[in-house]
């Protein structure tokens, strides 16, 4: 089975001025996105994410190296047949209604008029914009624009969906809704490539990431491996009374392990907000279905440098 995206030694230079000087936007990048992954292409602004994404979409030709989408060179039009794309801060055609816009995109992707309409209703309902479908895109809020953007990306039922900064500038509810949509897409068997500079926001939904800086890939792999705290072990328990904590500390001490930190876990502000407005179901964290409440215990596996804490 061909990987969804396969990039080998990709380099992209942009000429400056009359062509003598060049700006290297991407420098010998190699990465592989397997099918049904949620892959985060992360990094600060100017790190080369957007250039990489444009090469994948066939909008830019690589200076060196190669890029394949489902085994086809990315500069071939056919390679884009299985790709849906949500651009950053999408504006779309303001004079069209959400429905008209999604239908148009469906037709452009080769769907018949009737099929495009049918699919447009399906995806619009799926992204939760059924009530606003006949409103002009120009009147949509930012979160709605992102959702209609996802709808147009999905209208032709692509296997690979590329989302560029999907949560940038979106409020916590909108952001959580988008995260929830991404996870639903994964459940439906799709592959998602997510480009973002908001590392924390996408951390919760990606299973693989590549972190870029100055055109180079500085880390990549499964998210759990990359974010694993070096040397520490974290245990979560139901409400642990103070005497029990002391007993645990002693018990661990006897085994040469230092208990470095005992604290009540902190909620993130976006989580607090979602709870307060009754949308706790949108909260999602990598590796668990919901946040566990209770004490959080961090210990030093080796227990050697506990004195430094």
């Amino acid at each position: 089975m061909a990987p969804a995206i396969e990039i080998k030694e990709l380099t992209k230079d942009f000429p400056l001025g009359l062509g003598k000087y060049k700006l290297r936007a991407v420098d010998h990048l190699s990465l592989r996105v397997e099918q049904n992954q949620v892959f985060g292409l992360l990094g600060p602004n100017g790190s080369g994410k957007s250039t990489t994404m444009k090469v994948i979409l066939g909008l830019l030709t690589p200076t060196a190296g190669e890029c394949r989408v489902y085994g086809l060179p990315s500069n071939k039009t056919a390679a884009r047949k299985e790709v849906g794309f949500l651009p950053e801060a999408p504006y779309f055609y303001k004079y069209l209604s959400g429905l008209e816009m999604v239908v148009l995109m469906g037709k452009i992707c080769g769907l018949s008029a009737a099929r495009a309409r049918e699919r447009a209703w399906e995806v619009i309902e799926w992204v939760g914009l059924k009530d606003a479908a006949r409103r002009r895109v120009g009147t949509y809020s930012k979160g709605m624009l992102q959702r209609i953007g996802i709808a147009q990306a999905l209208v032709h039922d692509p296997q690979l969906i590329i989302l560029d900064e999907p949560t940038a500038g979106v409020d916590p509810v909108g952001s959580a809704e988008i995260s929830s949509l991404v996870l639903k897409l994964k459940e439906a068997g799709k592959t998602i490539l997510l480009c973002s500079h908001l590392l924390a926001q996408v951390e919760d939904i990606c299973d693989h990431v590549a972190i870029m800086n100055k055109g180079r890939c500085i880390r990549q792999g499964p998210l759990a491996e990359i974010t694993e705290g070096q040397g520490d072990t974290e245990i979560r328990l139901d409400q642990l009374p103070e005497p029990e904590v002391e007993a645990l500390r002693r018990w661990l001490g006897e085994r040469g392990i230092d208990l470095r930190q005992v604290k009540r876990p902190q909620l993130r502000l976006d989580e607090v907000f979602l709870r307060e407005i009754g949308k706790a179901d949108l909260i999602y964290r990598q590796g668990s279905e919901s946040v566990q409440l209770g004490s959080q215990v961090t210990s030093d596996k080796a227990g050697k440098d506990s004195e430094n804490e």
Binding site: F85, P87, A89, Y91, F92, L96, I108, H156
Partner: protein, 276 residues
Amino acid sequence: MNSLRIIRLIAGNTFLEAVRQKLFLFLVFIAAAFIVSSFYFRDLDFGFSELKFISDFGFGAIVFFGSILSIAGAAQLFFNEIENRTALTILAKPVRRIEFILGKFTGVWAVVLAFTAMMTLLLMAILWYREGILMGMERFARDFPEGRKVLYGDILWVGFLQWLKFGILISITMIVAGFARTNLFTVVISFFILIICHLQYLARDAWAEIAFWPARMGVAVMGFAFPNFQVFNVGEYVALYEPLPWSVIGSLVGLSAIYIIVYNLLAVVSFRSREI
């Protein structure tokens, strides 16, 4: 077949965008007001030459506002796609750049067709109405010994040939837009080229008389590199007096076809070098 479908979809969407913009409606309104205002002269002049005046005035308005619409329309509809990032959305679909450019061109050309057709029909209606009145006036009866004199069929042809010229102008604007960074730059350069295209016949006539050979070469190259728009000025002497020969219509249709096809391909070349 699929390419044609995509071009049609992009063209249809471009047309829709254009007619929902104020610029189009504004130009239609102003041009129509101009053509209708030629009635203003009816105290001033007499008989058949008044119809010539109305026709000149009408074609002048069509050429003037049609050129503005072609250049400003093409530039604006192109840069809207770039600036609103809708080009990115479209080109990320299985759409080739050539399909995108041809779709945009066809859409703008269709808008200009709507404009030219409306204005030409309006001009014909005004001429018809005024000619009827003049024919009924005793002192002008001798101007119309055999009934109506205005060659209405030829007026339609002249309108059609102006539309072909606008097609060339739109393609030129698309080439410029492919290279340019801003809408304003595109509009200014395209108007500049429009003036050169009207002037280029001078270069063709003058080059042989220039002694300094680099200047002569430069002038000769200019004579070939820009299309001759003066050749489309058929409206000012025909339609009322003399029928437009088929050879001229054929020659202008052929000329327009060559330029429109080649220039659109060049617009694709210029657009290819552009980063979206």
